[in-house]
Symmetry: C2
Amino acid sequence: MPRTKEANQQIRAEQREHILDAALQIFARKGLDATIDEVATEASISHGLAYRYFSSKEALIQAVVKRVTMTDPLGLQSVLEMPGTPGERLTLLVSRLLASRRDHPAFFQLINHLMDQMQNRAFVAEKQHEAFLKQSQDLFSVIRQLIVEGQATGEILAGNPDQLTTTLTACLEGLTRQAARDPEQFKRQCPDVEILLRLFKP
Amino acid sequence: MPRTKEANQQIRAEQREHILDAALQIFARKGLDATIDEVATEASISHGLAYRYFSSKEALIQAVVKRVTMTDPLGLQSVLEMPGTPGERLTLLVSRLLASRRDHPAFFQLINHLMDQMQNRAFVAEKQHEAFLKQSQDLFSVIRQLIVEGQATGEILAGNPDQLTTTLTACLEGLTRQAARDPEQFKRQCPDVEILLRLFKP
């Protein structure tokens, strides 16, 4: 019995996701200079099949970026609306930020490559560029808001909230880069969340 | 009166340094994909003149890397031998680390590009690769040693010294990346040294 149209569509959609998974891994590991050939090898498919799904590397990068910018793995908005004191919510958010980097290093390493490239090249459509910038600004805003609220309740040390937020986001970015460079060493040396939270203790 | 041989040599040496300065700025800003043409423009010299000093981009990159790895801008060894308690010396070192990134963002951004590239490409001779790795390991060791000594005197909070060192070096790397992406924003948000030192306060 031949496959139905719906079954074919589903298979195509799954294959596409499979290629995007592989692309995320390869671009994370090798940077955006990696080739479609390398992605196809990672996905265990032929070069030709990969091209049937993505007609150029640019199209593939755009699809990966689209997926990255549509993800809100931390549920940022929900953190602000959650019950608990600002300090408790900040603790939860920092734990999630750290755990997500531990569990999905490739995802965050890719984000770092994209940030690096954004300065120099128009590698994504303007709309995606904006979505991407917005994502990192949203993270900054949410952390900053929790810090300001926590300073008001006395749970978080007084001080310039922009500097405190910058310190935390810098630390997270640096940890991601180190994890990408040497995953084994990173597993041994990755700081406990309590260490990062010291930045905020009154 | 024609210039003496010595005068000519001196002019050549100065011109070479001038090109290396420009290369450092350009590679820091645009990554190692930048061209010799761009370096020549930054140095306000002709493409041809640049090539008379460096026969290929590889030669230029190697010269820049050699300069970077020969520099010990922090006087790391002297920090260990300095008078004062371990806590005081760590405070001094963190202040220097932060100030050096504030004052020479291009230098550290270039180091970050080099670290990124080291995973993928043999862009430098083996010897320089090793010198480069050693430099970053030396920084890690010096910070770690001061932390261990400070924990013994009670000036620094107990805890895994590898994790504490990783947190500080990650934070510094992240700050460098942020400074490179948006220097103006960074000047407004760069944390005071006291914030970083909270990571170590007992």
